[in-house]
């Protein structure tokens, strides 16, 4: 069964590579948002199975984004997986307090990336 994933990252290169990776290797469909605001908008308008979220973005950081997703009843049930370059122990502690399904660290293997997402989300 195909999945529809929203990719939120201010780095358009990363967005594109994640998109190619998920589409080519998993056969899922994707949507891209290059800022937090755009991501929130798309989360409301599209029927999503999951959101892949970069933690640091110019307009809002991951915390604010998750909070706002959780605050909206329409989007609350969409699981979020963090995709981040922050790998220090302090960062992990902060992520653990967020209402997210899991964390995948950059850089990632484009071939097996989708399996990591599936595993986190129990697909």
């Amino acid at each position: 069964m195909t999945k529809h994933i929203l990719i939120v990252d201010d780095d358009k290169d990363i967005c594109r590579l994640v998109q190619i990776s998920l589409e080519k290797f998993a056969g899922w469909t994707t949507a891209i948002a290059q800022s937090g605001q755009e991501g929130l908008l798309k989360a409301k308008t599209e029927l999503l199975d999951a959101i892949l979220l970069d933690v640091s973005m110019p307009d809002m950081d991951g915390f604010q984004f998750v909070t706002q997703i959780q605050a909206n009843a329409a989007t609350r049930s969409v699981p979020i997986v963090l995709l981040t370059a922050k790998t220090l122990p302090g960062d992990r502690q902060r992520f653990a307090q967020m209402a997210v399904a899991g964390v995948i660290t950059k850089p990632f293997n484009p071939m097996t990336f989708w399996t990591q997402v599936a595993e986190i989300l129990g697909w």
Binding site: D13, L17, S21, L88
Partner: protein
Amino acid sequence: MKSFDSLHRVHQRLAKIPVGILLSLPFLVQLLGATGLVGYLIYRSEQQAIHNLGNKLVNEVGERIYQQLDNYLQTAQVVNHRNLAVIHNGLLDIQDFEQTGHYFWHQFATYNFNSIQFAKTDGSYIGVSYQDQIPVISEVPKPNHKQFIYSTNHQGYRTQVQQTIANPNVLQAAWYQDAVAAKQPIWTTVYPKNLSHPKAISASTPVYDSEGSLTGVLSIDLNLKQINRFLQQSEIGRGRAIILETSGLLIADSEPTEIMAQGEQRHIATTEPLIQSITTHLTRFGNLNQLQQYSTQLAIAEQLTYIHVLPYQNAYGLDWLIIVAVPELELRQNVGVNQRHTLLLCAIIILLVAAIGIVTTQWFINPAPYLVQADAIAQRQFGSFNNKVPVAQLVNTFRHIAQFNTAATFQNRSPREQHPKPILQNLAQSLPEIIYSAVIKPDGLMHFEYINPVVENVYEISAAEFLAQPNRIILMQMHPEDRAGYLKQVAQSTQAAFTYEWRSITPSGKLKWLRTSSQPEQRRGDICWHGVILDISECKQREQQLQASQAQLNDILNLAGVSIARLRFYPDRTFEADYCSAGCTAMVGYTPEELTSQLWASRIPPEDLQTVMDQAFAAICQEQPITIEFRFRRKDGSQCWLADILTSRWDETEGCWIVIAVGVDITERKRIETALHESEALNRAILNALPDLIIRMHQDGTYLDVKPTTAFPILTSPKLIGTNISDLLPPDIARQRLAAAAAALSTKQMQIYEFPLVVNGQSLWQEGRVMPLTTDEVLVVIRDLTERNQVQQALQASEQRFRQAFDDAPIGMALVSPTGHFLKVNRTLCEIVGYTDEELLALTSDDITHPDDRQADSDYRQQLLTDKIRCYEMEKRYVRKQGDIVQTLLSVSLVKDAAQQPLYFITQILNISDRHEITRMKDEFIAIVSHELRTPLTAIRGSLGILAAGVLDDEPLQVKEVLQIALSNSDRLVRLLDNLLNLKRLESGMVPLTIETHIVADLVAQAIACTATIAQEANIKISTIFPTIQIQVAGDAIVQTLTNLLSNAIKFSPAGSTVWLSAELQESKPVPYIHFKVEDQGRGIPIDKLESIFQPFQQVAISDAQQKRGIGLGLAICKRIVEQHGGQIWVNSELGKGSTFYFTLPIAQQDV
């Protein structure tokens, strides 16, 4: 009858002796007798003088020897004691024999010792002694080694080995063994040292180290010959002074021949008669070592010899007897001359007086022949006369004259004899007494036959009136109380001479004492009385005065606190009081009747009684005046001290001595004396204990007296007395002291001054105190301050160093009381916590501690106070005065006093905020770098992964896209690394700038080209204004600076806004500057970040790095570049309105 005849014959013979001889002979006999008596008394007094002299001489010599001996022996012990102190204070390393030998040499040169030495327990030895009158240093350098004897030079350094001795074995010596056994300073027994020193004694003291184990023995040897020497100098002529040990050993002798043979110790049981006699006498008192001070006279070799025995004992175990013996002959020699003079004088007096007597007698008897001749003529006996008139003839002549005169007095005289009458009457009239002849008639009334006119003076009436009614007038003028006695006596006296004294009241009212004396003459039934009446008023008056005076005297004696008694003292030592003045009762409470000799004896303490009795009896026997002092228990039980002055004379008739005892109560005097003795002893002890040199000095600088002190051995020689200060001290010091003396005398105030003095090459600092003593004498007290000064200076330096170290310490330091109050804080601490010195001292440590850290700090302090830990370290936050928090590392220890009571905490506070900051920055850097590296890496890794998987093999457009992504991200990675390396190189100064001349326009154009892409993407317009000038700069670096500033401005500017880049020339000395300005309309920078943003890895917000793709290196690089060019960079900003970055560059580089 026969005897009468012989008497008569003697009388006749006597009568034929010429008058001249009769007068001269008794006179001569008396003269001889008197002179003989005087001579005898002089002889007696001389005997007594010799006796006193003898006793005094032996006493004084004994005392002098005692003093000299004590000084001599004390010096050794004092020097030992001082050396011990020097060793204990670490001033002398006793292990260093080189130094010790030198030290001993100097002491040896100062004192008159036989040797000074030290032996270690291992047998090594160092000492200084005499060899052939020259000081040498002896050393046994190592145990079981030879002994080397070195000769020395004048500075006390060893010059060469004179002699070596194998197997010296000093540990067997008496001075070592005795001191080790005694474990304290002692005098050794007397022992033979060597041939030249047959008798030696040592002052030895064991030396212990700080742990109490024996290090060795210090010792000073004295040669007893030295004592012989001052015994010989004791000026007793043929007398003898010896010192005996109480065991009987002869220590020293004034006789030079008495040096004992080697190795032999001569005891007193020798054949020497003097010593034998004395000791035999002394041993009668029991053991010699219990002998007290004692004087006596002994007959030794038929010579009366005065003996004085004085025990000498001291704390170090000496027990000697000083015996002084002086034969009477010695004293008599001097007195003998006096005796001869006296005898000669007596003889001259006898001759002179005899001559005068004879001449006077001759002169006196010269008229006698003429008198006898005249008498013979009067008696009608004519014949021839010679000049030698026999006594009988002269007596007859006088008798005739007397008879002739008597006959002429009376009325029944013969006509032949009438002519003398007027003479007698004239005589009677000229006498001051009443002369009368009166006949008592049977009626009992007196009828005066004759009375001279004096009666008028006495009775104050005319003689005629008196003679008219003599009985009435006599009785009338007689005092009524005397009349009865008079009448009674008149009635009774008929035959015997009549004498009566009475008071007479004259008509003028005068009271006169009269006395009559008369002789009866029987005359035909009547009695005729011939007599005189004397006016004895004056006598009576004197008698009354005498009585009054006696009464006064008695009062005085009774009240003066003096008792006077006349005692009869019997040879059995009992006495009776003939008279005791009332003062006696006042003094002791007993009446004269109670005060028998038994009672007297019972009231004197038994221990005193024998001595008092002996003294008193001895003096009474010799009829010498004596004063005895003794304690006496009064009748009320209290004890008093009495002094009795006894004078005695032997009364042959009564068989006893008559003793006049004058007693005085001296209790108070004794008490004062005792107090004075104690006070004097104390003063002397204090004076001796003083290390100061005390000099009594005349104002002209002459030393009058010097109190010796061990602190100034060189300056205390007795030779100094009488020397002038200018001959003793350097001129400036002498002048200074004389000036101080003059000032002290004129102001009467003590003068204190300090002065340097060089003694034996050692520089000393001394204090002089000059006090006025009399009008021209001062007392100078010199104290050595050298050590005090050194210590004080060292202490001050040490304190100064500590204070400086404390104040200037680069870490915060504080002394904190156990209650937490700051006691002392240093500058660094003030800087750390932002409070001033005064503010901190008013606060407690807790007041400025972060609340979260207080408990931990307090717990630690408690553990320190309860000795659970010795110190602690903790990281602690202080709240600064400004309110911010400073992170510190605290290190605390506790200082306690000698009684283990806590005094204060020493706290060291290290500001570790920087360290924290660096840690934080490092963490941040790692986070940023990690993030910034991972982002391009992710893109590259992702791209390559997709390509490698081959899923895009059929889609060449997508392949190209993915490759482009990989490429641009790898460029980004390279840029990032370049920036990092650039900064590192710029900071380390490794990259020299390549200075070239550039046109400003070129540089600006390059920078704009670099940022054109991002400006376009962000929709930012860049506007520029710049002068057309050339500047000498490193072009690439300036382009990078401009690029960084423009990039930042673009990054933080809202889309559609403009960034301004401008430059202008500023004229200034010495080189003109170009002034660049980059202005944006972005969000601005908070004021507190304006400085720090130029530091590496500093950004306005942590999120800036992620948001704007930077790691905070750009501005740091700019700053380094500008500064390397000699320019400055800074920023002005207003939050929300934009920021303006400025930098300046000199247009020409001077030194490049």
